[in-house]
Amino acid sequence: MKQGAFTTGKWAGWPALCFVAIATALAFGGLIGFNRNEFDWSYFSDPYFLAILRFTLLQATLSALVSVALAWPAALALSYLKDSLHKRVFLSLCVLCFVMPTLIVITGIISLLGRSGSLSPLLGEDWNLYGLSGILIAHVYLNLPFAVRTLYLRLQSIPDASWRLARQLKLTRMQRFLQLEWAATHSSTWLLLGFIFVICFNSFAVVLALGGGPKATTLEVAIYQALKYDFNISEALALAWVQLLIAGSAFLLVSFCGKVSWLSPASAPTQLRPTATRPEALAYRALYGCCWLFLLAPLLALIPRVIDGAADMTFWSSLSRPLLVTLGLGAISTALSISLAYSALRPYRRARLQGSSTALWLDWLTSHSLAVPAMVLSVGLFVLLLPHLDLDHWGMWLVALINGLITVPFAASQLKPALLNFDSQYHRLAQSLKLTSWRRRRIEWSYMAPAIRTAAAFVAMLAMGDVAIYSIFGSQDFVTLPWLIYGYASTYRLTEASLASMVFLGVCGLLIFYLEKQSPRHA
């Protein structure tokens, strides 16, 4: 095949790919290389270690089970409702809830259910948010919308013909459920369980803020504590390895089984929906209402406190710097992540066009860091860089850099479909027109613009909400909004936490609005 304009530079994109791979390799170098002789195996029989491992597994399993169990009826209810504005807003809210920085949710949940929370009096004397209950509530809140949206999209994909057939065959409700609804969603259900398990296994901010002491600590938090509380590097490394082995293999297993699609809009909205019986329809409406309440409650809970504190102008002005730091961090990470992902996908696209089997590997290489928890990557790099670099000085750059790196797979997954589309549609044309590489690139970019914007909004949100990487490398001269909110929330300064959360929520809301505007309407 002629190396046409498109393929200028056989090695285009390789530097980016190598950069991503080398960063991981370096982190592993840190994990392996430090004080090898001092690696403390006895640690694995320490009752503390066993207790946190047990707790980590328990909370992740329960979070996954509860999220999916609740998402199922909600998605079903949603699929029986006619398309409407509020339903579309609801689906957007689902996206917002899943990608929204966790600290906002945590502040809302504390305002609702904490000691002085507005709902706490209803829960009796013994109610204590901190510990497993708080962690579960937050995890369900964050993951349920993701599950609802995924399952809903699957249910929407049941073809009209199937429903028609079901009607002709006069299938009972149960039969319809088994033959159509369950059949269309069961593989997604298992995948969701797996994904939510992995997400919650790696959860950091929620456990840090709502864990309430050593009884409810996860591996991820224990790594942070070993490093920052005890400066016990060998222990932090031992924990990081366990975290990597379990979270990494669970992730590989799940992603081997399939891919969850949740952001993509449903293809060809189905017109034909089965009619529900009256009581069933009522139940669906009630459920739908409950979902609205559930998703809005923690956000609405911020409002009274925001009104309380809104007049404090000194406080508002004290937010400006953290806000700028967060936005700056988000911008750098996003630019880095998008350009890395874009370039790193080049070798993959080349391989695809040439029908080479290396495509699979290249794809994997671009996204490999998904299997490496952010905390593990951070600790590895921290240990490696500590003797060589003034981390106090370079810390914030590292926060931006690592956030950029770990979001590469997310950016890639947003860019890839559009890029492949572009290649399949225009590659031959571009070749036969003998376009210069510059002109070709311009056409490609204008084609890719919406996908790039979506990816950027998505990545920015992830990077700005980061707490884990910041906890390792951050510096108090550059406090980010999430870390500030964590400080307020953990010292019960809920008014300040709510105000800061509201500002942050505003920023995220704008991004989501932007993100949703890019993609075609969801049915």
Binding site: P47, F231, S318, Q476, S490, T491, Y492, R493, E496
Partner: protein
């Protein structure tokens, strides 16, 4: 220590002051004033803590700029020094306590001072060549006497009870560490099962003193680990007498808060002047009514509220003994309470 009670705006002010402090640092580096970097804990430098007044007092005489770097709690200061090693920017570390002296010294993180202790109260019997004390107190559990009519009279009674308790993490905070010594001296080899018993009615273990005390004042627990001097704050600043320290028959662990010159500081002379200032009459009159601890200097006049405080029997643990066992005790604690 750590007596920051005013709750509404403090954290934001703290964040604010940190920003102001770093901005000031920029400004100062432009001018010629020598800068003195002090690592301390958060409530020390908050608006209601001793930090601002001490800073003003010292800067009036030193032609220098004091820059506070605030960490969560006492043990965090040590951890920070360890993590930073030779890159630490501190000239002075302020807010370590007796339980950390030996470890800090052994790791070579501080250097000898040139401060004379003639003016110190003889009760302290202080003669350390590296560390200068600036206040002291006794760890105590504070309760609200309007809620609890018959407070526990011993640590054992508290552990055996079902009263809700909040204390601090010994890995990050000096009160938490004091609690650990207290449990160890009361229970010895039985400490593990005592920790487990206490865990049954522990609301939460917080990272620092501040979080714990805030939660207590919110009404989250019957008892909170703090200091025998804490009730004085409520009397002087808030005119409230219901908060009391429970007097325990086993005795109470004494905490002496200390400051020292960081090992790689090159501003030895300035740092020594700062340490001397810390135990001066001026500073020692500020500290008891801002940090709410007892002064280390003889003849400092205190508000009357201090006369009403409990006078506990002191449990003496040598810094060497604590340093030799601290890690093992922490392991025992976290193993017991994570079950």
């Amino acid at each position: 220590m750590h007596h920051l009670f005013t709750r509404a705006v403090s954290f934001s002010r703290l964040a604010h002051s940190l920003i102001a402090v770093s901005a000031a640092a920029f400004a100062a580096s432009a001018s010629a004033a020598e800068e003195l970097t002090v690592y301390t804990y958060d409530s020390f430098v908050s608006e209601w803590g001793p930090g601002p007044a001490l800073e003003k007092g010292f800067e009036a005489t030193c032609q220098c700029d004091v820059k506070f770097v605030a960490l969560e709690d006492g043990v965090s200061i040590l951890n920070r020094l360890r993590i930073e090693g030779k890159k630490a920017k501190a000239d002075v570390v302020l807010g370590l306590d007796t339980g950390l002296i030996e470890e800090t010294r052994k790791e070579g993180l501080v250097q000898p001072h040139a401060v004379a202790f003639d003016a110190l109260t003889p009760e302290l019997k202080w003669s350390d060549k590296d560390f200068v004390p600036f206040d002291y107190g006794y760890f105590s559990f504070i309760y609200d006497s309007q809620k609890i009519k018959q407070p526990a009279q011993s640590l054992q009674e508290l552990v055996d009870s079902s009263a809700s308790v909040i204390y601090q993490d010994p890995r990050t905070s000096t009160p938490g560490q004091g609690m650990m010594m207290w449990m160890k001296s009361a229970y010895g080899d039985q400490a593990e099962s005592a920790w487990k018993k206490l865990a049954q009615h522990t609301v939460t273990v917080t990272k620092g003193w501040w979080e714990a005390y805030s939660m207590f004042l919110e009404g989250d627990a019957d008892y909170v680990l703090s200091y025998s001097t804490s009730p004085a704050y409520h009397q002087v600043a808030e005119d409230k007498t219901q908060y009391k320290a429970a007097l325990f028959s086993e005795g109470h662990v004494m905490q002496v808060e200390v400051a020292a010159i960081a090992a790689n500081s090159e501003k030895k002379e300035l740092a020594n002047r700062f340490l001397n200032f810390l135990i001066s009459q001026e500073a020692q009159e500020i500290i008891p009514v801002t940090n709410w601890m007892l002064p280390v200097r003889k003849g400092v006049k205190l508000p009357e509220a201090f006369d009403t405080l409990i006078q506990p029997k002191s449990i003496e643990l040598t810094p060497e003994y604590i340093a030799a066992n601290r890690k093992a005790w922490i392991k025992e604690w976290r193993g017991a309470v994570s079950q």
